[in-house]
């Protein structure tokens, strides 16, 4: 099936303007500092079109840090459901990927993928800002290739 001009334009726009929203599901704040770090002048995510949004309604990519606690489980689900399609989830940090050192703890539900589907995993304690930029880029590149195949 060939795509119309408008569909291709929208695909191009999606690739060039990923807006992120940052959610802390129970992280120790290490990865959160690194996510904020990626937005500062040194790394400047805006040159790649990434903007941090305040509300899930405007965001394309949910950047989630930390192992999901029982307290944040429902909220994470709610925020994920509030995001409009197409949406992506990135688990940033070892705890978000698998639960990390908190796995098996009495108040921990598990990694982010135990609650919402995750598109990209980024291990690290804490994940480096360069890696965060790279993972968003790779995720969109992969998605673009998949769009092309269709």
């Amino acid at each position: 099936m060939t795509k119309t001009f408008m569909e291709r334009a929208v695909d191009w726009g999606r690739r060039k303007s990923p807006w992120i929203i940052h959610f802390n599901a129970g992280a120790c704040n290490g990865c959160d500092i690194e996510v904020v770090d990626a937005l500062t002048p040194r790394f400047d995510l805006e040159r790649l079109g990434m903007l941090q949004q305040g509300t899930p309604r405007h965001a394309d990519v949910l950047v989630c840090t930390g192992a999901v606690t029982l307290q944040t489980r429902d909220r994470l689900k709610q925020i994920y459901n509030q995001m409009p399609e197409p949406k992506f989830v990135i688990a940033v940090g070892s705890c978000a990927c698998s639960g990390g050192i908190f796995d098996g703890c009495y108040c921990i539900n598990g990694g982010v993928d135990s609650v919402v589907p995750v598109d990209a995993y980024l291990p690290g304690c804490a994940a480096r800002p360069e890696a965060i930029i790279d993972v968003v880029n790779k995720l969109l590149k992969k998605w673009e290739e998949k769009q092309k195949e269709e």
Binding site: A9, R57, H58, P86
Partner: protein, 310 residues
């Protein structure tokens, strides 16, 4: 008839306004980024954002008033595009000049703000409601100094039409220097009109998520963003038309002058946005009523007295 449609829809009407506003948004963000020692967005960034938002799923909250919710972005965009038609852009005269178009432009520019308020109100979300109330509080504080500051030069020129102001000041270019206090008041007040730092209280990302537009997504949010960008263009054009009325009879030279003038105003606005932090709502009310309004009032009195002398 065809010519009129061309003017309204394509050049210098709707389509040109949209294209120029996307360019304007890019320049604004680029200046902002460069002043913060960042690289800044790429030139097509606003277009990519707009297209992406058009293609996203549109969510309308269950409790929102659906008709008004979907109607408001279009109304605000239409009001701004209509205001653009009455401002002299490239030539000394606007497309459809008449006596009193300055007042009409000012009131057309109030409609989007009211739309933003209603958008927040009918979203029935807590964040959006607080944002909406703040929009209205802001409206009551900056509107008076802005109107007074824009009417002061018109009083000196003894006309309510923008084309008349242009004609008067091109005969007496030095009288423009008399309006500098009003110009400063207008620049500060229009930061409030455009919801920009230091007056971005209604959007305040850190406290209110995105304030008024918290529930908007997809193409409705795209149109709202476009309307805000267009408002930036229209307000800069209006300030340029009132305080820097330099026009040429040739269209090409006129376009060059227009672009330079509006970019200059945009640079001042971006500079203010960069060096300021957000202030609290009551500080804004105090600033507007205690300082900006008296300055604008003094300017009006001075202009009235000067009119007797000159």
């Amino acid at each position: 008839m065809l010519a009129a449609l061309f003017h309204i829809l394509i050049f210098p009407g709707l389509l040109f306004l949209m294209a120029y506003s996307l360019f304007f948004d890019f320049v604004d963000r680029k200046i902002y980024a460069r002043l913060q020692n960042r690289t800044g967005p790429r030139w097509y960034q606003p277009l990519a954002d707009f297209l992406k938002l058009l293609g996203k799923e549109t969510i309308i909250p269950d409790h929102a008033a659906k008709k008004i919710f979907t109607f408001l972005p279009i109304v605000s965009m239409a009001a701004i595009a209509a205001a653009y038609l009455y401002i002299p852009l490239f030539l000394p005269e606007s497309l459809y000049p008449f006596d009193g178009d300055l007042i009409v432009v000012l009131y057309l520019l109030t409609i989007p703000t009211v739309c933003f308020f209603l958008a927040g109100w009918f979203s029935t979300s807590v964040f959006a409601t607080i944002g909406a109330v703040r929009t209205l509080t802001q409206l009551f504080s900056y509107e008076v100094p802005l109107f007074m500051a824009l009417l002061a030069p018109a009083l000196l020129a003894d006309t309510w039409s923008l084309s008349g102001i242009t004609a008067y000041y091109s005969q007496h270019p030095f009288y423009l220097l008399l309006n500098i206090p009003a110009f400063l008041v207008a620049i500060i007040a229009c930061q409030g009109k455009l919801d920009r730092v230091p007056f971005d209280l209604s959007e305040a990302e850190t406290e209110l998520a995105s304030g008024t537009f918290v529930e908007y997504s997809g193409r409705y949010y795209a149109i709202f963003r476009l309307a805000i960008d267009c408002e930036l263009v229209v307000v800069s054009s209006l300030i340029a038309a009132v305080y820097l009325p330099m026009h040429s009879d040739s269209l090409l030279l006129g376009i060059v002058i227009y672009v330079l003038e509006t970019l200059l105003i945009l640079f001042i606005l971006a500079l203010i946005r960069t060096i300021m932090a957000r202030i609290r709502i009551e500080q804004m009310v105090v600033l507007c009523w205690k300082y900006l309004t008296p300055i604008a009032l003094l300017q009006i009195i001075a202009n009235l007295l000067l009119k007797g002398v000159l």
